[in-house]
Symmetry: C2
Subunit: 340 residues, 2 copies
């Protein structure tokens, strides 16, 4: 055991169980005791240095009924560099994507869950977004769950977010008409100018979501990519066409409510023979390489673009997380811990 490096390990922990909307004071940034960058003999784990972490709303699982203990490090997707490997498939210096911690160094007990990064020439941060789980989520949700056809009418809520911006661009590639909703005029502009949405609206400025959708979709909606839930879903149900499909990706408007909003228009699922379907992107990891081969050429050609909202430093992670629920981020929210 020559040359064992010893480091401190800064991390973000959860101070208490969440109740109601997450607040920055629910988190704490702590510096642990020193950690050794070494593995016991025979271990098949790897130790990684975290570079970028993805800030995702599904951290809503951190609620009272969750079995995760407070003061444990928060976990989530990230991009990292292998610094010590006990696993045959990984060696020092490899760049990987996978579930890691909101901390400087992480021990990955099961490296089989890691995906090696094939295109380090692209921005590495893309592997938290367009080339990471949000990208796969858009790909599976749109292509597999919604089975889009050319000429169909597509609506995306939270359309400038990590997933929504890609769904819109996939819809355009497919020859669909696509409209997005977002929470600010700035985002609405980005949807139309940067991502090529045919139309977009700021839902905060609409008195009547049903009227907004009727204005944007006089012929109705074939596909709704659902990221928000609640009142928007209720309005969408009034505007779906026969045989419409709803990919239930997320319902960010509902995560922090003690009692979820009532949705009144579900009878349309019967009368318009709609399909509404949830999915776990983790069930589809085996399709990652296929997805990557589809999307990378479009990134390189500039046909698909991606907007990121990059916060600097682990210390900024709590604010970035809390901001997600207020619609503060413009594009994919991530945190850079180290650039290499």
């Amino acid at each position: 055991m020559v040359d064992v490096q010893v480091r401190t390990n800064k991390k973000v922990v959860q101070k208490c169980y969440l109740s109601g909307p997450a607040k920055e004071s629910d988190f704490e940034v702590v510096v642990s005791d020193t950690v050794q960058l070494a593995l016991p003999t025979g271990s098949t784990a790897v130790i990684v240095k975290n570079l970028y972490i993805s800030i995702d709303p599904w951290n809503f699982s951190m609620k009272k009924d969750d079995s995760t203990l407070p003061l444990s490090v928060i976990t989530g997707y990230g991009v990292a560099k292998v610094v010590v490997s006990g696993h045959k498939d990984f060696e020092e210096g490899d760049l990987v994507l996978g579930i890691t911690g909101w901390e400087e160094y992480s021990l990955i007990s099961d490296p089989n869950s890691l995906i090696k990064i094939n295109y380090p020439d692209l921005p590495l941060s893309y592997y938290t977004g367009i080339l990471g789980m949000p990208g796969m989520t858009a790909y599976i949700g749109f292509y597999e769950i919604c089975a889009p056809k050319k000429g169909e009418f597509v609506f995306v809520s939270a359309a400038s977010g990590a997933v929504g911006q890609l769904v819109g661009q996939f819809a355009k590639l497919t020859g669909c008409y696509v409209v997005g909703s977002a929470s600010s005029d700035e985002k609405v502009n980005i949807l139309k100018e940067k991502f090529g949405f045919d139309d977009a609206f700021n839902y905060k400025k609409e008195q009547d979501l049903n009227a907004a959708l009727k204005r944007c979709f006089p012929e109705g909606i074939d596909i709704y990519f659902e990221n928000v839930g609640g009142a928007m879903l209720d309005a969408v149900l009034l505007n779906m066409r026969l045989s419409g499909r709803i990919a239930a990706c997320g319902m960010i408007s509902q995560y922090n409510l003690e009692k979820h909003e009532g949705v009144h228009n579900l009878l349309n699922i019967v009368t318009r023979k709609l399909r509404m379907e949830g999915f776990f992107v983790s069930d589809h990891f085996s399709k990652y390489r296929k997805f990557e081969e589809m999307v990378v050429p479009h990134i390189k050609s500039g046909e698909i673009t991606y907007v990121e909202d990059i916060a600097e430093g682990l210390e900024s992670a709590p604010t970035a997380f809390v901001g997600l629920f207020k619609g503060k981020n413009v594009g994919k929210q991530l945190v850079v811990i180290a650039r290499e």
Copy 2:
């Protein structure tokens, strides 16, 4: 034109547009002027004598926003006998199933929509139920929409109704565990004693539908065959297992409400990756013969049974229809106009 028969034609018409729950006074039984049982030369229509009419809740389309004029005869599925045919595929005396009117005689302009009855040795009334659209609805909804597997947990609401009783029996044939809900103790007994449901409950006697479902399904529900909507759907969503499927066949609790009840637990569609899907049985007519060949042997062997609630005479149709929404019928509600 020798021997043209002339008849009066009793019919049930709608007196006004419905607002709120249907009342018997919204309907009127009238006797029309005489009709000739004859077709113009060259016509490809048929004239049928109606025998049995199916009373179905989807007559909820008779609302204000419907373009159907009041005082027109009510239409719906029925069993009839051809009395005059201008169509090459039909001849006098043929027994058929299809969309007809709530009247003694009907002119069918497009006889291609009629299905010839293959098994006149079975009770003809079955062609309004187990061998008619309710049967097809149960078959398509359960087998195609829900894709059941042996050992799965199935819940059926309005389980003693025209469709529900069959879904339960199909579930047993598939090797599933099946529980039904109904609106009276009498119906609950029928579910368990006659249709072989593993368990059943009277929802009107339950304080807490979520608790009732947890009691019946300690391991959760894989398949929900949805006939009622509203509070029952909300409770079911709390009890669905991962990858569960909901066939959205009907939501009878909601049809007559001015404002539909709110459903609060849709986030489970995301977090448990559920699929909820509506369907039109009319899209699946091409599978009718396949369905018939599957179900007839089970009827003949007694493995599948069917309970009907038969009202006598056209005059009883309004009461039968209104009763559907109050859960008055025990089994498939139909009206006999003539026995042959």
